[in-house]
């Protein structure tokens, strides 16, 4: 029996699919990054308002804006969400923890943005309130009171823009 000489095959690597996959992954990562950014928004049905404007139409500064969201829990309770911190609105009475957190944020903004008090003691730091249209007012009021006590008067209510009829 004679031994055959091993047949050597020349290897050619096609780069096209590699580039395809890499560009798909890149696109994926970019999109996921964008989704992660908007994922901090609590999903809710916002109230409709025909006078609502978008951020670009708003002429005043939005720098340092604080976003306060009222999030409905599975047990129908509501919790306030500021940045990534959640606050029970009843715990401790008078939403103390939320108020204290907001006051800390105001202090930080004062230091970094040189925010000063207006003539009546309020701060011009913008606060965006994201509250679902079906939220009961007794819960909304707790958030409002916390804002008032932190002397945040420049509020922006998040809304769905509807066209005028």
């Amino acid at each position: 029996m004679s031994l055959k000489k091993a047949h050597v095959i020349g290897v050619e690597v096609d780069m096209v699919p590699l580039i395809d996959i890499i560009s798909l992954l890149l696109m994926f990562l970019i999109m996921v990054g964008d989704m992660a950014k908007s994922a901090s928004n609590v999903h809710m049905t916002l109230p409709r308002a025909d006078m609502a404007i978008n951020d670009t139409q708003y002429s005043k500064k939005l720098e340092g804006r604080i976003v306060v969201q009222l999030e409905k829990q599975k047990d129908s309770r509501y919790m306030a969400k500021v940045e990534n911190a959640k606050f029970d609105l009843v715990e401790g009475g008078a939403s103390k923890s939320l108020r204290e957190y907001l006051e800390r944020l105001v202090t930080k903004r004062q230091a970094s943005m040189k925010v000063s008090e207006d003539s009546l003691g309020g701060f011009s730091i913008p606060v965006k309130l994201r509250i679902g249209e079906d939220a009961p007012m007794y819960e909304v009021e707790r958030v409002m009171m916390a804002l008032a006590r932190a002397r945040l008067t420049n509020v922006q209510y998040a809304a769905q823009k509807v066209e005028r009829h």
Partner: protein, 166 residues
Amino acid sequence: MARKKIGTGEHHGGESGSAHGDRPWVFFMVDCFFLITQFFVLTFKFKTEESILPQHLPPGGTVRPTTAVPTNPKEPLRIHVSSGSSRGTAVYDVMNTKVTLADLSSKLAAIVSTSGPDRYTVRISYDTNAQWGDVMAVINACTKVKISECGFVPLHGVDAPGGGRV
């Protein structure tokens, strides 16, 4: 000697030593592409534009202002929101006149037409179970007639859960 691509399927049997048998490499790329596309299709959501309704709360609110109040305070315009059986059926009491949401803007426009919108500050009160959407409609109507200050009259007494403590 002619060079051959790996995985083209030519002369490859199932046990040929190739990791993917006799399936061409392009199958796997197409599989990947379909999986990624499937992911995007399943997770796709229309982006709804979120707008804002800017307002300036009356300074101080229920908290005493740290400095002196203005010498010519604005005239308070009181509006009470009574909760309806469902969203959009709330009744609005504007200076002791009950109106629906459809008539609210015209009522406010009539009030501010005499002395201008800057003369007024709106104080919104509401039933305990009134919904934010119904109350927000008042702020929207105020914006429409160019009243820049809208504040809330807090619930007091036993009506509010927790005995009115907020």
